[in-house]
Structure formats: C-alpha cells, structure tokens
C-alpha cells in the first residue's frame, strides 16, 4: 500500500472541493481502514455544508478537511485491538461518531450522545465532537479510517452503490421501529419524494404495511412513488389535494396508525409546518407521529385534550445504531427491501463537485447520488 492517497478536500466554507494527495490515515488500536468503493451524497446536508446560506448551527472540522459521510467498501487494514474483521470483507459505515462511553452510548442510542458528529460533515448544535471529526476524516478518498464499531458487513449481492445509501435509509428505519411499526399498519409518509421519505415508503412496503399514504409537492416524482406499488401506495399531491380529507378517504374515515414526517424547509418555499399539523389531524385514535425531517424554528402545536382523548403520541427519532443498520442489510440481501428502485447517478472522485451540484437540484429520493473514488 502506498503512503498517500487521493482525497477531495474542502479548504473553506463555500469553496469547491479539491482533489489532492494526502497521507493515508493512521489507525488507532480500534480502527479499521476501508478502501472506499462508494459514498452517498445526500441532497440536504451537502447544501448545508458547502454553501454559505443555511441556518444550521454547525461546527465543521478545521480546514482543509476531507468530506464524505460514511461509505461502502472493503476492509483494507485492521487496528491492533480490533476483533472480528478480516481484510477484504465488504462493509458499510454507520457514519455517526460518538464518545462510546456515555449513558446513551451504553444504551445503543448513539444519536443522543453529547459528542455525536456526522462523519465527513460536521457537529450539530455544539462543538463537543469536533475532535472526533478531525480524527476521522470523511469518505471522499481512496481510503477512510473509522472505528471498527461503526462498520457493518454487507452481503455479496448488495452493490456498494446501494449499500452507501443505507446511511440515510437507517434514519427512516429507526424511526419506523421507534414509532412501533407493525406489519398490517397503514403508514403516512409526509414528504415521500425526498430521500428519507422514499426510504420510508420502500421500508414500509418491505415490512408488510397494509397501505402507504405518500405526500409530495412534485406531481411527477409522486407518480413514481405510486408506481412502487400501485395497489398499496396512495398519494396526496400537496398544494392541490387536501391532506385530511384524502387520508380519511384512503382509510375508511379512520386515519393512519403511524405517520412519519420527513419534511424539510426549503429556502424560498413556504414552510411545510402546516402540512405537519394537517398530518397530525390524519392520525387514527391511538396513532403515533415520528419526526425525522428538518425544520428550524418551528413549533409543533397539538391540543392538550386531543392528546388525551385520542391517545396520540408524537415523537422524534434521531439517527440509528448498528443493530438497525445490520437489520437493513439483511432486508436488502433478502430482497424484501427493493434497492433496484433507485436510479443511481455515479460521479468519480474527480467530479465530486458535480455530484454536489446535482444534489443541490433536489431531484428526489429515487435518485441515488454516488461518488466513487
């Protein structure tokens, strides 16, 4: 192995990435080195990272820095205290870096750790985890170093390009689990044409939802969501069709068991908070809402008496642990989770900035934007 590798680094906020030769990462005792085969580019966080206009309260690593959240590839080198991995194994990274010792880490809830950061991106809200970011540069490189406990094996029948996408699928999966998803339920996905929303639809179908009600703002994209399973997917075109009456129509007037909200504010568009309030009114008695979208500075309002009288539960869900990632991988390998529905757009490491440009167009959750070193 050479001592250097190619990597795409950012030198200042807002500037494009530059392809450079950098030293190979040095492994700690518990780390593994992965030869990167594919990294997924999300349509939301990239914008937040690279462009000047965003409202997120983020803390990046010191520049220059290698970006790229997680990734899929092959184990290339193993730290001295790592057990259970072999060189050459195919793996995917869970890109949440945490302290590993706090009460939430002990409880397998990494998204609640005070130090958590998104590998290859930033710390959110507070800078505690910036040292983790700096110790573990991102995946836009030939090789990436992560703690062995952030790595999950993938089956031979799962392409790297699809595995890389699990970094987002995991969020939707954990949310459905947290919300008490059970086969036979009717699930509402608000924002089904975005990445998290599309995953929510695919997962609900894979896990035996009776019906999936999917909202979206774009007629064409929503039609593609419908095509995923015309018998079980029902759509609501936001702005044209009213949410509550449509839900009632699809559910014999009863409402949905589970509502997954994946909506995000988009600069220059009207806030989606009204759709959240409408969707809450579409919950069946005893129903549950789970939030995983991104909406800064918005309060969710729900009547105190309705909470009680309808036994409603509203909750947030944050990231996912390796157990969930591993379950996802199993569903993909079994074919119940249909990865073939994705339209994968591949960019080489040299063209990583074009991948970002493409992501900025927010072309919808069925597009899987991948950078391949």
């Amino acid at each position: 192995m050479e001592n250097t590798m190619k990597a795409a680094r950012i030198h200042s906020l807002g500037s494009p990435l530059e392809l450079e030769n950098v030293p190979l990462p040095t492994l700690g005792d518990e780390d593994v080195l992965i030869e990167v085969k594919a990294v997924h580019v999300a349509q939301y966080h990239t914008a937040a990272m690279l462009r000047t206009e965003h409202s997120l309260n983020i803390y990046p690593p010191t520049f220059p820095a290698i970006l790229g959240m997680g990734g899929a590839g092959n184990i290339s080198q193993i730290g001295s205290n790592v057990n259970g991995f072999q060189e050459g194994e195919r793996v995917v990274i869970n890109p949440i870096l945490t302290c590993g010792t706090c009460e939430y880490c002990m409880d397998n809830r990494p998204g609640l750790c005070d130090m958590w950061v998104l590998h290859g991106y930033y710390a959110l809200y507070k800078p505690n985890g910036v040292p983790l970011l700096e110790n573990y540069p991102g995946g836009f490189a030939q090789y990436v170093k992560v703690p062995a406990r952030n790595v999950v094996r993938i089956h031979d029948n799962i392409p790297y390009e699809q595995a890389a996408r699990f970094n987002y699928t995991g969020i939707s999966y954990e949310a459905l689990k947290n919300g008490g998803f059970r086969p036979g339920m009717t699930v509402l996905i608000n924002g089904s044409t975005g990445v998290l929303g599309t995953e929510g639809v695919l997962l609900s179908l894979a896990m035996g939802a009776a019906k999936v009600i999917a909202t979206g703002r774009n007629r064409e994209r929503l039609a593609k969501i419908k095509e995923l399973n015309p018998e079980r997917v029902f759509t609501i075109l936001l702005g044209e069709e009213s949410i509550v009456p449509s839900i009632k129509e699809f559910t014999d007037g009863k409402g949905v068991h589970l509502y997954l909200d994946t909506m995000g504010s988009v600069a220059g568009q009207e806030s989606p908070i009204q759709s959240v309030h409408d969707c809450l009114d579409g919950l069946k008695k005893g129903g549950t809402a789970v939030f995983i979208g991104s909406m800064q500075n918005h309060d969710v309002k729900y009547n105190y008496e309705y909470y009680i009288g309808n036994a409603i539960k509203i909750m947030g869900s944050v990231w996912y642990n390796n157990q969930s990632l591993s379950e996802l991988v199993n569903m993909a390998a079994a074919g119940t989770l249909k990865l073939s529905n994705y339209d994968t757009k591949t960019f080489s490491l040299e063209h990583v900035n074009e991948a970002f440009d493409f992501a900025d167009q927010r072309t919808g959750g069925l597009n899987n934007i991948i950078v391949k070193p």
Copy 2:
C-alpha cells in the same frame, strides 16, 4: 331482596341530589348487581356535573338520573349469561362503559371506544354512549347494575373505601405504563397534590422509581407529598420555585425520564399551560411526557427540531382497562401501593350533597372523599 332501593338522583343540572326510593335495576344477561359499600367522589368531575359553570362538552343521561361513578361492594345478583362471579364476592367497578365490540374494545383500550361514557356521570364530546348511561345508572344507591366485564375482585385486606378510589388511581397507573415506566426511573409529576397527581406519586414509589419530583401550588399539601417518602420525593412549589432549574438540580443536570402531567385548569386561576411547557423542558434526552390532566383549549407547543435532537415523546393516555385495574388491586393487596396514606372523608348517602360541597373545595389528593350508602 326488596324491589326498591334508596338512591340519590339529580333532577336538573345544578340542582342538589335527592334521596329517593327507586326500583331495583333489572339485570341484562351479562350484568351483575352489586350491593354498594363505597363510591369515590372526584374533586374535578363532580363540579363539572353539578354546577352550571364548566366548559366541558358533556352529555348527561335523561333526568332524573342516579349519579355516582363506579363503586366498591358485594356481588348481590348475577345475570343469566354471566360466568365467573359468585354472590357475596367483594368487587370494584371499572366505571368506563363501552360498546364492547369495536376495534378499540377488541384491543382492550376502552377509552378509545366511540361510545365510551363514565358510569354515573356523562358522555364526553359526543352523545353516542348516552344509551349506556341510561341503561346503567350510577353508584349513589344501595345497589348498582353494571356489565360483569366491568367488575374486578378485591382482596379481603382492601377496604371498600380504598377500592372505590381506584377508579381514579387506574388513570394514573395506565398513564405510567403507557409512558414506559420502569423501576429506577426518575419521574416528574406536575400537579402532585391533586387526586391523579397524588396517585402518580404513590404508584411511582410502589413501583420502584428512583426519585419522584412533585410539583404543586399549595405549600402545605406539597409538604405532605414530600412526607410520603422524604428520601425519594423532591418538591417544586409552583409560583415560588422555577421548574427547569429545580429539575436540573434534582437530576444532576440531566432531567427526568418520565413526566406525568395531571394539571387541570381551575376557574379564576391562571392557566397551568406554562407549567406544562416548563416541564417538557425538564425532560431528559429520550424522555417521555404523558398527559392525563384537563385543560380545555390549550395547545402544547414543542419545537420540531427538539423532538428529534432530544428524541422526545409526548403522548396522552385515556382511562384504563380491567387488566390494569386488576394489577392495581394486586399492588394494594401486597402493600406496595400504600393506601393507608389517604385521609378518608366518609359521607352517608343522605349527605351526598355535602360530599360534593367538600369536593368542590379541592382539598387535595390525599383526601379520599367517599359516599357510603
């Protein structure tokens, strides 16, 4: 058995009850007749029922009507199709009457049934269940008829006066269960000096809470709550002590696992909704809030991003099923649930109106107001 009995009936809203001789109830195939020994008078609903000023959207039975929610006593007569009960058995009534066949009844969630009414009181929000109210007059009488499936046996060491009170204890118990209570948790009870709040404290102690943080507006009553277990109960005097800093102080800065809100609006007092918002800010990451109080026309507001970032769950809980009532009875019989903490105020059926007057004074949850025919 005589063909008539004494009962306290109401003839119009706002008028006092009148003691009268009325015919004994006629049993349906599935009903039991109970010789009433004690009926609990709640400090909240009575006011709503008997006084003219209230904001509840209630539907009473046709007047004259026998009031009295549930009650404890002895089985006196058994319907032709009832199995499993013997004359003379000591029992307590679960005072929620339901259709018995809808999807929620099938799922043992009576409080979600579209027909549910509170036995001896009223239908809430919609009139569907008024026929149930009229078929099953209340407990302020020598005898009361209820469906056998609304009845739970009580042990010999549980006095009728304490068993009657379970009609409210059940609400707090179901809420703690729904909220995921586990031994070792720290529990916050907002409104601990009311009936539901006091039950919440006693139940949390019985079930092994590490700490109970109890709020209240009345210094003396709150001091009595503290005395229930000075080592494990911590108090916050509303209006004098700030909620969030106090919670942080009692929890090493971390917040509570579970927050049970039992607050009710009181005419002429400031709305307690601010205390709800403060208590929500006292939740630990991953924590849960459960509402069982009564606050008309108030929205609970909680930030969309906080839901996610802190993995917060907010929910309502409504009433309880017989399984929960039966578990309560077991805890009381075992002595883990300390009923001896109650100060029981007993009124004869002749003095039922005085019981209401006393209840209207809202003297606090450690008072157990009982009518004995």
Copy 3:
C-alpha cells in the same frame, strides 16, 4: 325469518352428521345471529371429534349437537344489549368461547380462560366450559348464534370461504407475534404442509420475513410451499434431508431467529418429537421457539446450560384474540397476506360428512376445506 333452520347434527361419537330441521337459536342480550356462508373444516380436530380413535381428553356437548367451528357470514339479528353491529354486515367468528370475566379474559388472552371451549367442537382437558358449548351450537347450520364480542367485520374484497379459514390462521399469527416476529427475521416452520404450517409460511412472507425455512414429510406438498415464493422459501424434506445441517446451510451457519412448530402426531406414524429437538438445535443464539402443534405425552428436552449459553426461549402459544383476528383481516384485505394461494374445496351442508372424509385424508395446508350451508 322462519322459526326453524337446517343444521348438521351429531347424535353420538363416531356417527355421521345428520341434516335436520332445528329451531333457530334464541339470542341472549349480548349475542348476534349470523347467516352462515362458509365454515372451515380443519384436518385435525374433526378427526378427533368424529372418530373413535383419538387421544385428546375432550368433553363434547350433550348430543345431539350442531358441530362446525366458527364461520363467516352476515349479521342477521342483534341482541338487545349489543352495540356496534348492523344487520347485513359481513363478519367472521373467533370460535373461542370464554367466561369473559376472569383475569385472562380481562387481559385479552382468551386461550388461558379456565372455561374456554372451541365453538362447534368441544372442551379440552376439563369440562368447565361445556355449558358454553351447549349455549352456542356450531356453525354447520343456516344460522349460528355467538356473543357479539366473538365477531369481527370483514372487508368486501375478502370472500367468505377465505375468511372462514382465518379460524386457524389466527393461531399461527398469534404465535408469530408472541414469539417476537419482526420483519427481516429468518423463520423456521416445522410442519409447513399442514394447515397451521402453511399459514405460518404465508404470514411470514406477508410480514416481511427475510427467509422462511419450511419442513414437511411430503415431497409434492413441500414443493408447492416452495412455489409460494421461490426466492425466500427454503425447504427441508423430513426423512430425507437432515434438519440441522440444512438450516445451517440456509443461514450461513447461524440458525434461525424464530422457529414455529406446528407438528402433530399422526396415528400410525413415527412421533415427530425428534424433529422438534432437531429444530431447537437450529435456533440462532438469542432465538425463540413457539409451539402450536399437537403432540400428546411428549416431553421437550433442552439442556439447562444451552438455555443460558445461547439465550434460548421456548414457549407455547394458545389461540388468539379478536385484536389479532382483526389485524389478520386487514392484511388479507390489503393483499399482503395472499389468500389466493388456497385451493378451496367446497361442500354443501348436505355433504358435510364428505367434507370430513376429505379432511381425514390430510391433504395439506394449501387445501381449504369449506362447508357452505
């Protein structure tokens, strides 16, 4: 409505049923009358009921008696105290009759009630429930009376012939739920070619199992089970293929998450208990076995240390409640549970004895034997 109806009655154990005119049932306050459209004939219990050779410790109703477990049809008449049903509604019966008031009934676990009997058949182990059998004659008749709480609505797109079969599907469904089934698991069904086993396969597929490993003694029937989903179903031909090595081969050496045993002793064949012990050895660490078959006088043996070292759970599951039946109905209506896989064999009420003869041939779980009055 006439005062009489046609019904198939048994006059003594071992004798054929006779088609007779009998009085219409008289409704109790809580009962409904159903115009019967289809009754499922199980391949196991019928033999036990009608033939002289069986080892079950059963208590039949007084003869003559109308047989027929549950059934599907239309609500025809409604008891005076029944809420929530309308004449003409399409329904299916949950054929377990219980006391309705004991601690297990309160907990929605009807199969643990001391009085439970199978409607239209018998009491098992003890005679407590024989009065229920006699009050509620079986479904081989133009009309059948059952308590309203034993009835669940069915959607218009579910044929009566398929709904009637749910009386057995419910057993497998409840068992999978009790065993902690989750989408993505690998499930082993021992005895997949029988009625309960076939249901186990169909349900596991509907609910998103990654793999289903199905055993059976009959090569042709097992091949049909494989055809239900060639990618996800893997078969083991008992007597020819070894259980443990096959399981290991299908699971990368790890074993199964969940094992559902539906095996029954068959007179004249070798006991299937050895297959149970083999299947237990095919459990993954942390795995669960659930028994719902029928094997008299057989002990299951499992090593004390293996229980601990492998964190194994072995359990039994008995019948199902209406909530589960209702969930089943939803999955069938949604099409995730594929009822079209059944080969329905229909017999008129006049030919009910031929239905039994056919059932005695034990032709496999994909045959759905139906009697239509």
Copy 4:
C-alpha cells in the same frame, strides 16, 4: 505513578495465588487504568478456577495470570482515544470482555458474543476469547486495565465494596428484565440463599414485586432471606417443604408470574434438577421461567402440550450489558436496592487466598466477599 504494582497471580491450576510485583498494564487507545479499591469474589466461579475438581469446560489465560473479576475503583489513567472519563472518577467494571463488533455486540448483548470471556477468570466452552483475557489481566492488583466501554460511573453514596458486588447483581437483574418482570408480579427465586438468588430477592423487592417466594436448602440462611421483608417474602425450605403445594398456598392456587432459577450443582450433593421441574409446575398460566444457575449435563423437560395449554415460556439469560449495570447503579444510589443488607467480609490483597477459602465454604448470598488491594 510507579512503573510496577502489586498483584496476586496464579502460576498453575490449583495452586494458591502469589503476591508479586508486576509491571503496570500498558493502555491501548481505548483503555482506562483503574486504581482498584474492591473486587468481589464469587462463591462459585472461584472454586471452578482454582480447584482441580470441576466440570466446567474452561480456557484460562497463560500462567502466570492475575485473577479477579472486574472490580470497583478510581479512574487513574485514560487511553488516547477514550472520551467521557476523567481521572479520579469512581467507577465499577462490567467484567465481560467481548469482540465489540459482532452482531450480538452491535445489539448490546455481550453474553452472546463468540469471543466473550470473564475478565480475570476464563473463557467458557471455547478458546476464542483467550487473547482478550491475556490483554486484560484481572482485578487482584493495585491497578487494572479494561476497555473504557466496560466501565460505569458510580455515585458517591455507593461504597466500593458494594459496587464490586454488582458484577453478579447484574446477572440477576438482566434475567428479571429478560423475563418480563413488572411491578406487582409474584416472583419465585429457586436458590435464594446463593449470591444470584439473594440478588434476585433484593431486586424483586426494589422493583415492586407483590410477593417473592424464595427457596433454599439451609434453614438459617433462608430465615435471613425472609427477614429482608417479612410481609412480602415467603420461603420454601427445600428437602422439608414441597415446592408446588407451597407455591399454590402462597398464590391462592394460581402459581407465580415469573420464576428465576439460580440453582447450581454442588459436588457431592443431589442434583437440583428436580427442584427446577417442580418450580416449572409452580408457574401460573402465561408465566415465564428464566435460568441463570449452573447445572452441567442436565436436560430440562417440559411437556409439549403444557407449553401450549398454559402458554409457558422457558428461557435462559446470560450476563448483562452496561445499560443494565448503569440502571442497577441508579437503583442502589436511590436506595430502592438495599445494599445495606449485605454482610461484607473484607480481605486484603495479601490475604486473597483466604478470601477463596472463605468463598469455598459457600456461606450464602448475604455474605459479600471482597478483596481490597
């Protein structure tokens, strides 16, 4: 800090430990060094380790080796990649060492990891984890090195001597959780006078069990268990009192909700397997048995039909994760788990062999045998 420390090492199986000066452990990136204040000596495993007669299939580290399972003390030094700990913090060790990356480690179930070993003792059944044993010598030393993820903070009001004992308490706690313990249950502890059994009694009381039925072979020790809570603890003296009739007597004929078996074979005594079979017959319908004792070469037998008819669940539980250990610590700090019931026997490191001699006398679970360096 010196470069050497005192430690008690074993040089060959069966020989006494020798107090020696050895080098301080060298920390890996993810390790912490703890100044040892107390190490608990179990009454079972020590015998297995040091004496020649035992039937366990164990793999010790290469000799000489430092023994001592886990321990409590102060953080003294911190590995370069450790987050979240400070020097001087008071902590307790979870003494199960694992690979940290397998599917079971990802699911927070360390006892199922293929590499798991007991720190300071041995690998069981297979030698995979021996390298972990050798990398992490035991706690009978002035300092001990363990991975940071094996360490949990303890409150100031928990003495080291009591915290060290949690290494066993955790086993009983995890088992009660796995078995579905809920406040208000009646719990049976078979073998209540041993270490795990006594913990089971104390934990059940702390968490609000209605009744605890405790068996034991020694009259005096069993009397002390009764004294822990005379109102809620009921005892059965094995050999003199029959198990099933006694359980029925204590439970109104119904049996127990949850049965925790902690029995161990003792050389020269009759096998306790018969008591296990009797206790299984003392389960209530729907009840659960959890095994955590030690009985080599014994099959548990339970009738196939009884599993179903009584909806019985039998399971094993193995070790515990840090989340459970952390919950335990909270209950001890709160005082619900009464540590003051222990009679602590303290031995200095110089007298460690006397601690073993004392442990070999198997003086009962209320004795807490502690070595203090």
